[in-house]
C-alpha cells in the first residue's frame, strides 16, 4: 500500500464561505484593493489587484465583501469535517486547501475508481467551488491539480513526469524565490531534477531544497490530521407519554451511565450538559446543568439534574428525553494526596454547584470592584464564575470605611437641619470627606461619620440638594 494524497482546493473560499457560490458578480476587498473576484465579476473585467473604484466602474452591480480570515478558517474546518467520511487522515492546509490521505482506504471503498466517484459526488454537493489534485505526497497533490480521467492509481514514474512538467511560475513558493529560480533560464521544475542537490541547496537555500525533497517524497512530510468531534448525543423515547417528572430519574440515570462510560473511555470530562425534554405539543424544553469544575461521575450529574428538574414545570406530557454532552474536555487529574489530612473538608465547589441550581436563592461571593463611589467598590461574583485575573486593590486603606453597606443608600429625614434616623437625631462628626461624582454637573457627596443614640456608628452623606442619606454602618 503506497501513500496516495488528494488535495481539494477551494479557490473562492473567502468569497463563498458565507453564502456559497452566487451568479452575481462579487469581489472580496481588503483596504481598497480587490483580493478575489468570482467568475461573473471576472467576466466583467474585474481582477485581483484593481482598486475598488475601478472595479465598480467596470461592473455596476458589484457586491463587495470585506475579507474575514476567521470565517474562512471556519468554513475550511467545516469542509474538512465533511471529508472525514472518506478518510481519517484529513489535514487542512490553510488558507483554502484540504489534504486527504486515501492510500489506506482504497480497499474499503472498493478501489480507486469508486473512491474518486465518491469524491466527485462530494464535490457536486459541496456548496463551494473546488479543484481536485492528486499525488504521492501532500505537496505533489497540492500542485498536480485537475488530473485526467484515471481508472487506477498512477504509478510513480507518471507522477514524476507530471511534476517535471510543472512551470516554475505556478509553484506555491515565495515570489522572490520563484524569480530567482527563473533567473538562470529554467522554465519547468523538471529542469531542476538532474542538478546536484547540494548545489541547489547552496544556490537557492536550504528551505527550497527541503521543499523539493518533500515534494518528491525523498523526505517525510508529516501532517497533523484533524480529530473528529465526538459530542455525546443520545435520546430515549417513551412508549407512553410521561406526566410525572419524578419518573424521569430512571431514564436519566440510564443516559448518564452511558455518558460516564463514554467519558471514561476517552478520559474526558464535562462542565455543562443539556437535557432536552421532547414534549407532546411539539416543543422542546432544554435544561442546562452546570458544574463548578469539570466532572465525569454520573451520580453527581444525576443529583444536580434532579435538583434542576425539581424547579421545572411541564407544559405537556413528555415523549422523549435527550442528553447532549456538549464539549468534552480532556481530563487533567490533579495530584492525589498520598496521606490525606484526616480533618480535611470537601471543596467548596460541590456546595456551590448545588446552591447555584436553586432559582429562589441568591448566592454570591463578595469581591472588590474597581468603582469609585462606595457602593461601586463592591461586586458580587456569581457562584460558578471564575475569580478575576487581577484583584482590585484597596485604594484608600488608611481611611475608615463601614463594615456594612446599604445599597442603595437610604434617605434620612431632616428636622431642624439635623438628620434623623428611626426618629432619633444623629450626632455628626466634624470631619467631612468628599467623594466627587463621575459627572461634572453633580456636586460631590459629602460624607461624615455620625453616632446614633441606639449605639450605632453610621456613615451618612449629604448630596447636592441638601438631602441626607445613610450609606452604611461601622
Amino acid at each position: 500500500m503506497s501513500a496516495l494524497w488528494l488535495a481539494l482546493h477551494f479557490p473562492l473560499l473567502a468569497l463563498e464561505a458565507e453564502h456559497g457560490p452566487r451568479p452575481e458578480p462579487r469581489v472580496l476587498v481588503r483596504g481598497n484593493r480587490v483580493l478575489l473576484a468570482n467568475p461573473a465579476a471576472r467576466a466583467a473585467g474585474v481582477e485581483a489587484g484593481l482598486r475598488l473604484g475601478t472595479a465598480r466602474a467596470l461592473c455596476e452591480a458589484l457586491e463587495v465583501h470585506e475579507a474575514r480570515a476567521d470565517q474562512q478558517h471556519q468554513a475550511l474546518l467545516r469542509e474538512a469535517r465533511q471529508l472525514l467520511a472518506l478518510t481519517p487522515q484529513v489535514c487542512p492546509a490553510p488558507p483554502a486547501t484540504v489534504l486527504l490521505e486515501v492510500g489506506g482506504c482504497l480497499k474499503l471503498f472498493g478501489g480507486f475508481e469508486q473512491l474518486l466517484a465518491r469524491v466527485d459526488r462530494y464535490r457536486l454537493h459541496c456548496p463551494l467551488t473546488s479543484r481536485l489534485g492528486i499525488g504521492p505526497t501532500p505537496l505533489a497533490a497540492w500542485h498536480l491539480t485537475d488530473p485526467p480521467a484515471l481508472d487506477a492509481p498512477p504509478e510513480a514514474a507518471r507522477f514524476q513526469a507530471w511534476l517535471a512538467d510543472l512551470p516554475l511560475a505556478e509553484l506555491d513558493l515565495d515570489e522572490r524565490l520563484r524569480r530567482r529560480l527563473q533567473a538562470p533560464g529554467f522554465r519547468t521544475l523538471g529542469e531542476l531534477f538532474p542538478l546536484p542537490r547540494a548545489a541547489l541547496g547552496k544556490r537557492f537555500g536550504v528551505d527550497f531544497l527541503d521543499w523539493l525533497q518533500r515534494l518528491l517524497g525523498e523526505q517525510a512530510d508529516p501532517r497533523k490530521p484533524i480529530s473528529p468531534p465526538r459530542p455525546f448525543r443520545e435520546r430515549l423515547d417513551f412508549d407512553d407519554p410521561l406526566d410525572d417528572l419524578d419518573r424521569l430519574s430512571g431514564p436519566m440515570s440510564t443516559l448518564l451511565a452511558k455518558l460516564e462510560d463514554t467519558l471514561n473511555r476517552h478520559q474526558e470530562s464535562l462542565v455543562t450538559l443539556r437535557w432536552h425534554l421532547y414534549l407532546n405539543n411539539g416543543h422542546r424544553d432544554t435544561l442546562i446543568v452546570r458544574r463548578a469544575r469539570q466532572g465525569h461521575d454520573a451520580a453527581t450529574w444525576l443529583d444536580l439534574s434532579q435538583r434542576r428538574l425539581s424547579h421545572h414545570e411541564l407544559s405537556a406530557p413528555l415523549l422523549g428525553l435527550g442528553l447532549d454532552g456538549g464539549r468534552p474536555r480532556p481530563r487533567n487529574p490533579g495530584l492525589a494526596e498520598l496521606f490525606p489530612d484526616p480533618g480535611a473538608r470537601p471543596p467548596l465547589a460541590g456546595l456551590l454547584e448545588k446552591l447555584a441550581g436553586e432559582p429562589a436563592l441568591g448566592v454570591y461571593r463578595p469581591d472588590r470592584g474597581d468603582g469609585h463611589l462606595p457602593e461601586e467598590t463592591e461586586r458580587g461574583r456569581a457562584p460558578l464564575a471564575s475569580p478575576p485575573k487581577t484583584a482590585a486593590d484597596d485604594q484608600d486603606s488608611d481611611q475608615d470605611r463601614p463594615l456594612w453597606l446599604l445599597d442603595p443608600p437610604r434617605p434620612l429625614t431632616l428636622r431642624d437641619r439635623v438628620p434623623h434616623w428611626r426618629g432619633r437625631p444623629l450626632t455628626l462628626f466634624p470631619q467631612e470627606e468628599r467623594f466627587s461624582q463621575p459627572w461634572h454637573d453633580l456636586a460631590a457627596r459629602r460624607y461624615r461619620v455620625a453616632h446614633h443614640p441606639d449605639g450605632l456608628c453610621c456613615w451618612v452623606f449629604e448630596d447636592d440638594q441638601a438631602r441626607w442619606w445613610l450609606q452604611g454602618f461601622f
Binding site: 467548596l348 481611611q399 456594612w404 466634624p430
Partner: protein
C-alpha cells in the same frame, strides 16, 4: 414510687440531648473568639468547635459581624457562610480584616423555607466551617432549631444564629446563648444567657471600633474636607496641561 429499672439511668445518660457537667465538657476545648474578656466568661474558653450558638440582639446589630471577624479570619480548612444578612457586608473591610474572600459565600433569599433548607444543606455538608445565619422572620420552632443544631454537629460546623432579643424568652436547644447590647457606638456588652458547664449572667464589655470612631464628636467645629476623586484612566495619567498640584490638606479627626 415504682422501682426504677436498672438501666434507665444509663439510657438517660446515653441520650444525645442530656447535658453533662463541667468535667465532661472540659474547659479550653473551644476556639478563641479573639477577645480575651469574652473567652474568660465562656466555659469552653471560646466558641464551641461545632453546633448551634444563639446571639440575641436588637436588630439590625452591625456589631455582630465585628464580634465574629476574628473567627471568620482565622485560618483553617473549610468555607465560611453568611446567610440572610440584613445589609451587604463590605468585601473591602472583610478583606482588610483578613477574611479570605475566596472561601466566603453569601446566601440571600426572600423565601424562608428555601433559605433554611439551603442553610441546612450547607452546614450539614461538611464543607462549611463557620456559618452565620440571621434568623428569617416568623417563628422558629424548637424542631427546626434542633435540626440545625444536629446538622451543624454532623457537618463539623459552628452555626451562629442571630435572633431578635424577644426570642430569648422562648426555650431553645442551642447549648450556648449570648445576649448582646450596644451601650455606646462601637461598644458591645455580651451577657451569657445560657452555657453548658458554666454560669449564666456573666457579662463583659468589648470595644469593637477604634478609639477615634467611638469617641463622642466634639461640639460642631468644622474641619477642612478630604476630597476623593476617581483615579484617572491610565491613558490620562500624564495631563495635557501641567498644572501645579493642588495642596490637599491631610487632616485626621
Amino acid at each position: 414510687m415504682p422501682p426504677m429499672p436498672p438501666d434507665f439511668l444509663q439510657q438517660l445518660l446515653a441520650r444525645r440531648d442530656t447535658w453533662w457537667g463541667r468535667e465532661s465538657t472540659g474547659s479550653g476545648q473551644g476556639q478563641s473568639t479573639g477577645f480575651a474578656d469574652l473567652d474568660r466568661i465562656l466555659a469552653g474558653g471560646g466558641w464551641p468547635e461545632q453546633g448551634l450558638v444563639e446571639l440575641l440582639c436588637p436588630l439590625p446589630c452591625p456589631a455582630v459581624l465585628h464580634l465574629l471577624l476574628p473567627v471568620l479570619a482565622s485560618d483553617g480548612p473549610g468555607a465560611r457562610l453568611i446567610a440572610n444578612p440584613p445589609m451587604r457586608p463590605s468585601a473591602t473591610m472583610l478583606a482588610r480584616a483578613g477574611v479570605p474572600l475566596d472561601d466566603l459565600l453569601i446566601l440571600r433569599s426572600d423565601d424562608r423555607a428555601t433559605l433554611l433548607r439551603a442553610s441546612f444543606e450547607a452546614i450539614a455538608g461538611d464543607t462549611v466551617r463557620l456559618a452565620l445565619l440571621w434568623a428569617p422572620g416568623g417563628p422558629l420552632p424548637a424542631g427546626t432549631l434542633r435540626r440545625l443544631h444536629l446538622g451543624a454537629q454532623q457537618g463539623r460546623c459552628l452555626l451562629i444564629l442571630v435572633r431578635p432579643r424577644q426570642a430569648g424568652q422562648q426555650p431553645s436547644p442551642a447549648p450556648l446563648r449570648l445576649d448582646l447590647s450596644c451601650p455606646a457606638p462601637g461598644e458591645l456588652t455580651v451577657t451569657v444567657h445560657k452555657q453548658p458547664g458554666g454560669r449564666a449572667g456573666q457579662y463583659c464589655h468589648l470595644p469593637l471600633l477604634p478609639e477615634h470612631l467611638r469617641r463622642r464628636p466634639p461640639a460642631c467645629r468644622e474641619l477642612p474636607a478630604l476630597t476623593r476623586r476617581p483615579t484617572p484612566e491610565p491613558a490620562l495619567r500624564t495631563p495635557l496641561l501641567r498644572l501645579p498640584a493642588p495642596a490637599i490638606p491631610e487632616v485626621r479627626p
